[in-house]
Amino acid sequence: MTEENAGGRVKKFLYVNRKAPYGTIYALESLEVVLIGAAFEQDVSLAFIGDGVYQLAKGQDTKGLEVKNFSPAFRALEDYDVNKLYVDEESLRARGLSAQDLVVPVEVVSAQRMAEIMESQDVVLSF
């Protein structure tokens, strides 16, 4: 899709997910940006911080909420060559979670490492 690759330039895009998957629409619409943006052949990374780590939690059951469980869509990211997923270690631990509780393989990183990752980006989209 070279016609969608604006000017042929590749920038480093980081999507920072800070919100729980349900309760507000931020997480779902953020994922929509990631999936659309994947067609633009940019260098994409995702970060999960705070309640954002719940977006990746296994075993989400949204029947009672009458909204769609969109967590399986994270497994599709690999097909879009989006495979740099960083999860804040402290956010996971504070919520009693570990990497094994998540629907996709991720890199668990310290707050300091996360800061370095953010620092190295061209575009940081925070949702």
């Binding site: 604006a6 330039r9 920038k11 629409i25 619409e29 940019q42 061209d122 989209l125």
Partner: protein, 130 residues
């Protein structure tokens, strides 16, 4: 500097919309270029021409329209977010069989690709939201 702006919150409900406007105005006054303002999430509600705020309050939508007219700003409302929330231009209204349209002057409806493009084109993409 060439700036892109992302507005993620609706008018009046959240200060992000005010801050984004004030930032855009200040940046333009300093001689910077604003290549695009993209409205996402409830931010799309900044683009409805049907708001009627109290007369002693700021008119957020009108303010954006006026800034766009003055500086030829590209105000883009995300189509997917707009469809969920009932924002539409004439073409969208016709396409979906709706009996009204409500997009304010100076705004246009387009896809999320416009946000990515703004990120690529701009020197800085500044995000306003919660």
């Amino acid at each position: 500097m060439k700036l892109g702006i992302l507005v993620n919150e609706g008018p009046y409900n959240h200060e992000a919309s005010d801050s984004a406007y004030q930032f855009a105005r200040a940046a333009l006054a300093k001689g910077h270029q604003v290549c695009r303002v993209f409205f996402y999430h409830d931010g799309v509600n900044n683009g409805t021409r049907l708001t009627v705020p109290p007369q002693d309050d700021r008119n957020i939508v009108k303010r954006w329209s006026e800034l766009a007219a003055e500086h030829k700003l590209d105000l883009v409302v995300c189509i997917a977010a707009a469809q969920r929330r009932g924002l539409m231009d004439k073409g969208e209204a016709k396409r979906h069989g709706k009996d009204a349209d409500n997009l304010a002057p100076g705004f246009r409806i387009s896809g999320l690709g416009q946000l990515i493009e703004a990120g690529v084109e701009a020197d800085r993409l500044v995000v306003f939201g919660d």
